[in-house]
Amino acid sequence: MKVTILSFGSIREIFGNKFTEIEVPDTTTVDSLKALLESKYPRIKGIASYMVAINDEYASGDSTIKQSDEIAVIPPVCGG
């Protein structure tokens, strides 16, 4: 299935776009998505502890992704 990944900050600059389409297996976990993204964009491995959010919530590594989900890659946050 094809999913659209939202990205921000340093990761958005690495992806080159706020929205990135990527083909993933029908059953994909957050961890396997991260592995896929890291093979496509090796530079994100240098970003310590980035997270994935599904539908506005931080997701654990074993969470499964659905095509209808809003998926976002979250580099370390730094508001304030």
Binding site: L6, F8, G9, S10, R12, E13, A48, A53, D56, E57, A72, I74, P75, P76, V77, C78, G79, G80
Partner: protein, 138 residues
């Protein structure tokens, strides 16, 4: 009452106070985060703030809910900027009103510290000689 907003326009500090002041409160504690003009000796031209707005507001709501559980506070307001901010400009306002000051101070401190850890907002420092995404302070 509580209000959380991500704004791309200048923050109005007096308007924030007016929103949360109440006759039931004995005081307001406020944290105003502003843009510093240098980092480790390098001159900062401006900061660029970026937010994942829908999630940021939800994460702010969680912090506010927790603060209401932990302390007897009356009203909480969080306004956070996005976009380009020059040194001296206001990036964030946290305002808490409470019957007594201890709760207001403690809740305000908790909110800004937790916001920095959990709310999806990022900032890039633009120097005269380069730029860098700011990493969280340990």
């Amino acid at each position: 009452m509580n209000e959380m907003k991500i704004l791309s326009t200048p923050l109005n500090i007096q308007a924030c106070i007016d929103k949360i002041i109440s006759p039931q409160s004995g005081g307001i504690d406020m944290f105003i985060g502003t843009v510093r003009d240098s980092t480790k000796g390098r001159t900062v031209k401006h900061l660029e703030y970026e937010a994942y707005e829908s999630m940021a507001v939800k994460e702010m709501q969680k912090i506010v809910d927790e603060a209401f559980k932990k302390w007897p506070v009356q009203n909480i307001l969080i306004h956070h900027r996005t976009g380009i901010l020059k040194p001296g400009e206001t990036a964030v306002v946290i305002a808490v009103s409470a019957a007594h000051r201890d709760a207001a101070f403690d809740a305000c401190r908790y909110i800004i510290e937790t916001l920095k850890k959990t709310v999806p907002i990022w900032k890039k420092e633009v120097f005269e000689d380069g730029e860098e995404w700011v990493s969280p302070n340990p």
